[in-house]
Symmetry: C2
Subunit: 285 residues, 2 copies
Amino acid sequence: MAALWQDRTVGLVGLGLIGGSLGLDLQAAGAQVRAWVHRPQTAERALERGLAQQVSTEAAILEGCGLVVLALPLDQLVAPSPELIHALPPQAVVTDVGSVKGPVLAAWRGKPVRFVGSHPMAGTAEAGVEAGQRQLFQGRPWVITPEAHTDPDALEIVQELASAVGSQTRFCTAEAHDRAVALISHLPVLVSAALLEAADRGSIGENQGLARALASSGFADTTRVGGGNPELGTLMCRWNREAVLSALVHYQAGLDALIHAVREEDWTSLKACLQRAQAIRPDFL
Amino acid sequence: MAALWQDRTVGLVGLGLIGGSLGLDLQAAGAQVRAWVHRPQTAERALERGLAQQVSTEAAILEGCGLVVLALPLDQLVAPSPELIHALPPQAVVTDVGSVKGPVLAAWRGKPVRFVGSHPMAGTAEAGVEAGQRQLFQGRPWVITPEAHTDPDALEIVQELASAVGSQTRFCTAEAHDRAVALISHLPVLVSAALLEAADRGSIGENQGLARALASSGFADTTRVGGGNPELGTLMCRWNREAVLSALVHYQAGLDALIHAVREEDWTSLKACLQRAQAIRPDFL
């Protein structure tokens, strides 16, 4: 990693799945990694796991870091605490990993740091200090959402950070990012959660849990994201509400067409809808 | 396989995924397998693959088979051709593998065979003569749907067939089966197809296919069944229409609750819905 920042020292705030994985990969790429965490137990375990060279519950650990990555839950990114603002070195390049970008950029405008919004599109079902793993970001998109006033050097440093862990950087506006993730990430959570609810409601009173016994890989796949972390799902919808509502309108229109075809026994239309769906999918994956 | 039928000879009609897989496993279990297929090329390839000891495009291949499995698409099961009826040995035990049971039972009532409706709950994304594979049914449920007039010996023979390929047999009414599969198999197809449609509609005119570039494992999982075979999805909805419509009513209710919570910014309710979904899923899987 040809570090553009002076001292090759990266500060991480938070050592969950994203922070911990970054810590492992950045150290492997030759960086010094210092992490600020909330709880003493986390600090201890993070050091045991080698997620950073230095881990502390004291904000002072970030002193001298030219680049700080805020690997925090979305609610702490959109409403940063005075303690967090105060802990960041003046003029540090600061980026975040939040899954919604508009409200994060709004929250950090005017703060005394060189902020660049970003979103590494990588994840597993795990969370917490045990979740971090090597090469989580390898080959995955890392979206960066510059604004007109974004410092070009800061932008380049964040791009370098993403490249250092093997991600493919992609630039777009926060608005475009938020619309896209509403469609491919936030809407699927709601669609999938509603399916779990329907399977539960629809099987009330049935004989010996038949639906539960017969559910297999198709049901497992379709309900995976709906059965995920409720806190995370709620934060995504809350902070990307407008784009999620817009995605839901498109979804309802698609669902209505299918319901109408089944109700009216219009099998030609139903088949045409399913053929469209089949044709759409390879474009996305 | 302690064959209850006289001559250990099983007839298969169709050598697609289910028929071909049955042929491989039944031969391994010591049975003689004869298959009737439609096209000469299929017969040739099936013999090359060893899906049955004898394969023919002539109905006469089924003569003398005490047990015949109809491994045919649903539309051919609910409206069996006179040629098919004629080809079945009188008083043979006949079972099917259709994914909807009510209309199949109705179609075979009064036919001059000892019919038992059944549904092996196993599958892959593959179809056709190349799809058959060993141990497809191992550990999977095989639902059998007897009626009041079903021949007890025939029922036992079909149960033995399912056990011979490692399935776990489960008895229920056709109505209960059809309601359960509407919830866990047919509804997910529609839910998932509507998501593909929404992602396509919602990303019209966006910058350089951003949603397509960012879609990853969550989107892939949630849309897998919706991007499947349109013909199969249409047949399932057509022949299980009432149960599918009922499942859609439950689904819409669950979706409406989520939409309402997002629209009204009721994050407590939204989180409660997602917590319910998270709690429901392990019961099914």
